[in-house]
Symmetry: C2
Subunit: 344 residues, 2 copies
Amino acid sequence: MPIRLKDLAMKTGYSISTISRALLGYKDVSSETRQKIKEAAKKHDYYPYQSARQLRAGKTYVVGFLIPTYGMRFSDPFFIELLTGIGDGAAAENYDVLVGTSPEGGSEIEAYKRIVAGGRVDGVIITRTKKSDKRVEYLLKAHIPFVLLGRTSDKPDVAFIDIDSKSGIRLLTEHLIKIGHRKIGFITSPDGLVFTQYRNEGYREALKNSGINYNPAFIKAGDLTQETGKILGLELLKQQNRPTAIVAANDLTALGIYSAANQLGLKIGSDISICGYDGIALAENAHPSLTTIQVPIYEIGRQLFDMLYKIMNNRPLKQRQILLPPQPVIRNSVGPPQKKEKQG
Amino acid sequence: MPIRLKDLAMKTGYSISTISRALLGYKDVSSETRQKIKEAAKKHDYYPYQSARQLRAGKTYVVGFLIPTYGMRFSDPFFIELLTGIGDGAAAENYDVLVGTSPEGGSEIEAYKRIVAGGRVDGVIITRTKKSDKRVEYLLKAHIPFVLLGRTSDKPDVAFIDIDSKSGIRLLTEHLIKIGHRKIGFITSPDGLVFTQYRNEGYREALKNSGINYNPAFIKAGDLTQETGKILGLELLKQQNRPTAIVAANDLTALGIYSAANQLGLKIGSDISICGYDGIALAENAHPSLTTIQVPIYEIGRQLFDMLYKIMNNRPLKQRQILLPPQPVIRNSVGPPQKKEKQG
DNA sequence: TGTTTAACCGAAAACGTTTTTGTAATATTA
DNA sequence: TAATATTACAAAAACGTTTTCGGTTAAACA
């Protein structure tokens, strides 16, 4: 049975209120008694009972984070890196992280309601923003602090961190063009997501700037999983006039294309060039190492919490909207196209 | 501002207590009024305020899960699969999951104390059990329900799910021996972890049964990360008399060995055979596909929550200790040793 | 010395829910 | 009809904390 203020009161001889105020650092308790009380608290392993503290003070010291799981075999390492960043940031301020899995159906918003309207969290971190995001609408209406990983199109004032993924994909595509590629495939992400639009634009822009025609046969819409990456990679690469390079919407998809290329006996980096996006740990250690946009996932997680923390506690926030420049990392998965396949 | 019982009382004309009891399904409220109250609750999006409910009823409807992060770049997909399993199981029973990151230092136990003694959770799920686990000791003393993923050596009665990883590693090693390998390396896990012991035993047993000498030069102690897998893989494979096959303590380590092998120009599956353990999604799609022990991670997550749920709510539990048989999946990363290197 | 001020501490209210207890009205039984 | 049981609701206590308010003692001042 954990110890409570009442027990400390019994043991020290002070009143409950004095003990509470001593521990919270109020000034109207003598440093001498504060010392004694703190020692007693430490000695008896006192930790304030959260629900009581919450009920009285109206704060939970918990932030919510819902993992966007589509289907059950969900294992994007991106999210565990992000989550550890968020978790470490939270721990540094004595906050906790409430994690939920948002079911695939339309009941996603229901999961948010339970957490928010149930008063379980002081703030929320949202990822994989959608074009007009129901979650954002709800959180605005509920007046609860939140930050986004990724922009939204329709709400201009919300706090977010995002990578300029339009430039990111453009840079990768331009690099491919520069080293001689003309037939560049693209496996994109689901249509509803905001970053899908930016990444598509980056791809098209690079082609356009170099006067390369947009070929719909080279575009496939994926779902950010490795399995789908493989399937769509096979579709792209089995074509008669196949692309010599493929840009993928994320690293996991790119690794799926690795499988496809290997299955078809294509040497990655020469027969076929492949680019990813995210810079998960696996990208660096893949064989060959994967060219990608290096996203500082862990740091973004920490920073997301920091922003949220400041919003929740009405601290001044230097920047409400942070757009990070993309950091391309050219590795061995790309190389100039094979001679016999090269063509304008 | 979310709606509360008081507001519903105002709107419906019933008392707070009647409304509470109607919503909770008590029988001393007429079905007619219950109907009206439920409609009003739904209409106004009522969700009970958790901290008040907790304070009164003494239950949080939250389970705790601390991710064992060693160092910052932590990205084992194993844990995101496990977490989604736990999360989905919890969601099905209207529970939430509080996730913390346990810092690397000795303050790990501190993170547990804050969560447990602070009354933030009704139960805890623990992974990567250690030989004499401080966390287990603490949780037993605190009388809070918990379940383990992995056994402990010293406490016989605790609830757990585990894979028989001794048999698992033994089966993999035996398979390697069966197809002709005699020089089999082993990259194991940190010494403190319980499963390290079992896996080591499995390896040694397989060697012993086949009369193969235990060669300390073929054994390296890793930390379950890909980076270390690569480093130790290089150490093993650069030796004069290198092993023809390597068994790794987990898939991530095995994928690290992939990097090492590729760097040295060794063809995986013929020049060098590699086995992993866990069966993460990436193992199947690696090139070549990774031979491993397929662990049903997601299902284990769900089952862990189910066990914990029953313990927390005093429901009968069929089995308090579940030891799952290992499921080897032989894929293309192993093959018979090259002729010129084969030797007894 | 008498009065004001500061320092220190305790009493008690409040947060929103669940649950025990109480009570009026109605139904059942003798 | 009178006594009793049942039904349907309301009142109020309780959970443990924070915080407002007030009071007592001692120090400072006139």
